[in-house]
């Protein structure tokens, strides 16, 4: 397993419910992987495991040649801080922070870079707004900025367009494509039909 990200015989269960079974996967740096599947098929579970947020029931995960679950919790946290970015369907912005503060929440985020990125995402006049004052699309763009600011190597996007209209979906997808073009690796979980993401040139498509 010398790929950027590799999984071998990966299985995960919630009690008696098995959501991932004997999965194998190899992803090279710079790939754009689309994971498709219906709700409850295990997409979020897979992304949580790949993002070192959930220990698998069985199997091996290697990120840059290291099994993150063999590391201590603090080493795993450091790995996430340096290499992994998350975009969630429900955004998970902190309600008490404004747009700029949310974007700057990652440990390595720089406020000036954050302002520039938020400006690129069309949020210049929203910097002082709280998440509750934003539209869903704006919130998702803030979440994208928060994920991209620490310059991770791997971006895990869990249904990032699930609640968005076409215009906002397009902006988020553009952001993901731009990240990949700059050398990042993207894993996008979605239950949208392939036609909705036609602009994507996925290097791998997985179905769960």
């Amino acid at each position: 397993m010398s790929a950027f990200l590799a999984v071998e015989n990966l299985s995960h269960s919630y009690g008696k419910l098995e959501v991932l079974a004997q999965m194998n996967l190899q992803i090279e740096a710079g790939e754009f992987v689309v994971v498709r599947g219906a709700s409850g098929s295990g997409k979020s579970t897979l992304l949580s495991i790949l993002g070192c947020m959930l220990r698998p029931s069985a199997g091996m995960v290697q990120l840059k040649g290291v099994d993150p679950f063999s590391l201590s919790a603090s080493e795993r946290a450091q790995l996430r801080a340096q290499d992994v970015g998350f975009v969630f369907q429900t955004m998970h912005l902190l309600p008490f922070l404004n747009v700029l503060q949310n974007a700057c929440l990652p440990i390595r985020a720089d406020p000036q870079t954050a302002k520039a990125m938020l400006s690129e995402l069309g949020l210049t006049d929203r910097l002082d707004h709280k998440p509750a004052q934003l539209s869903v699309g704006e919130r998702q763009r803030v979440a994208l900025a928060r994920a991209l600011l620490p310059q991770p190597k791997l971006l895990l996007a869990d249904e990032p367009t699930g609640n968005l209209d076409d215009v906002n979906s397009g902006r988020v997808i553009d952001g993901l494509i731009q990240f990949q073009q700059m050398g990042g690796t993207v894993i996008l979980a979605t239950h949208s039909p392939p036609s909705a993401l036609s602009r994507l040139q996925a290097t791998q498509q997985l179905s769960l």
């Binding site: 959930l54 990652p106 440990i107």
Partner: protein, 380 residues
């Protein structure tokens, strides 16, 4: 963004929730304080009421015939007044009042002439005089019945055994032997009865026995007997036992009730802390996802709880003091002022309330920090 900024911004954003928590925790602290302060005041009040019920220990001269004593109200024998000095360092009796008494004729009436000196406290304590009436030399206090029957007036001169003394107080009717008594200074009575340096009774208040199972009479005799050879030590069991039982009852009640009240209020604080943490689990998940170390995540959540509990402890203490100040004068007529504010309780609350909150938050937080962060981000 540093921890304090995150705590402050969260508190500001959820100001209503934070305020509600402060109010609830303040009320919990105030309840504990109010209970502690009123309990202490109640204990003091009970002690004072019992104290005022009368002295319960009699020390009589050697050879006293108790038949005579109880029939006539005084001992025919005497003992040196210096016995009082021997009693200064013992531990079983306090508020020692020396008396010299005889039944004498005043006009056509038999009265009890009582020479009395100010009460003496064990171990040189300085306390308020309660029992020793201590008329000044040359003056007397006259019982109500004596004054009525002999038609005595205030400031009138009264002939006692050939000596003229001024009436400075006519005692109100008490329904006790005091009604047929004339109090004079001990030295004056010693002179009138020609018994210099002699007394025939010491009244005292039995001190608390630390061990409630100990026989009080045996303890008194063991300590006082060697100091006053031959003296009779009489414990007035009705007064002493009532006093002792009331004290033990009050102490027993406080020993049970205080921890219960503290525990209940502590649980309330703990429940609030745990609920807040539960509500904010997705935030914990976000911090994990962003790679925050556990120590920093813990400090964000613990810091908030500590800050609120600390602030609420101060507010609660002030609240209880303010409320007690309003009602204490009516509730505790004898002791209200000294118990209204207690800085020790404030300090106690300032560490106890945060400690309860900390302990309460620590368990769910430790659980949340120890399991896979993905669980915190899952929809409820």
């Amino acid at each position: 963004m540093n921890t304090l900024q995150l705590i402050w911004l969260e508190l500001r954003h959820r100001s209503a929730s934070a305020l509600l928590t402060v109010i609830v925790v303040s009320l919990a602290v105030a309840t504990v304080h109010f209970f502690q302060l009123t309990a202490r005041a109640s204990e003091n009040e009970t002690r004072m009421i019992q104290r005022d019920a009368g002295l319960n220990l009699l020390i009589l001269p050697a050879g006293t015939d108790l038949n005579h004593y109880w029939a006539q109200g005084y001992s025919q024998q005497t003992m040196p007044e210096e016995f009082m000095l021997k009693l200064e360092d013992q531990q079983v009796a306090n508020r020692l009042v020396p008396l010299l008494q005889r039944r004498i004729d005043v006009g056509m009436k038999k009265v009890m002439l009582t020479g009395i000196a100010p009460e003496v406290f064990k171990g040189g304590q300085k306390k308020k005089q309660v029992y020793g009436m201590a008329p000044e030399s040359g003056t007397v206090f006259v019982g109500a019945d004596v004054a009525r029957e002999l038609q005595l007036q205030l400031n009138q001169k009264l002939q006692l055994l050939g000596q003229e003394l001024e009436i400075v107080v006519i005692l109100p009717p008490a329904g006790t032997a005091d009604d047929v008594r004339i109090y004079a200074a001990l030295a004056d009575v010693q002179k009138l009865l020609n018994l210099p340096g002699q007394i025939n009774e010491i009244q005292a208040l039995e001190c608390h026995c630390e061990d409630p199972t100990e026989d009080p009479v045996r303890a008194l005799t063991a300590e006082l007997g060697p100091l006053l050879p031959g003296a009779k030590i009489v414990r007035r069991n009705d007064l002493a036992d009532a006093r002792r039982q009331q004290r033990l009852l009050a102490e027993g009640f406080l020993a049970i009730a205080t921890p219960i009240v503290v525990l209940l209020c502590g649980l309330l604080v703990a429940a609030l802390a745990a609920l807040n943490l539960r509500e904010r689990r997705p935030e914990i998940g976000v911090f994990h996802a962003l790679g925050y170390p556990r120590s920093k995540i813990a400090s964000i959540f613990i810091g908030r709880i500590l800050l609120i509990a600390f602030f609420a402890a101060i507010v609660g203490s002030m609240l209880s003091s303010f409320f007690l100040d309003q009602v204490a004068a009516d509730l505790f007529k004898l002791t209200s002022k000294p118990v209204v504010f207690d800085s020790t309780l404030l300090l106690q609350a300032m560490w106890l309330a945060p400690a309860f909150a900390l302990v309460a938050a620590a368990l769910p937080l430790a659980f949340s920090l120890s399991h896979d962060p993905a669980h915190d981000l899952q929809p409820k």
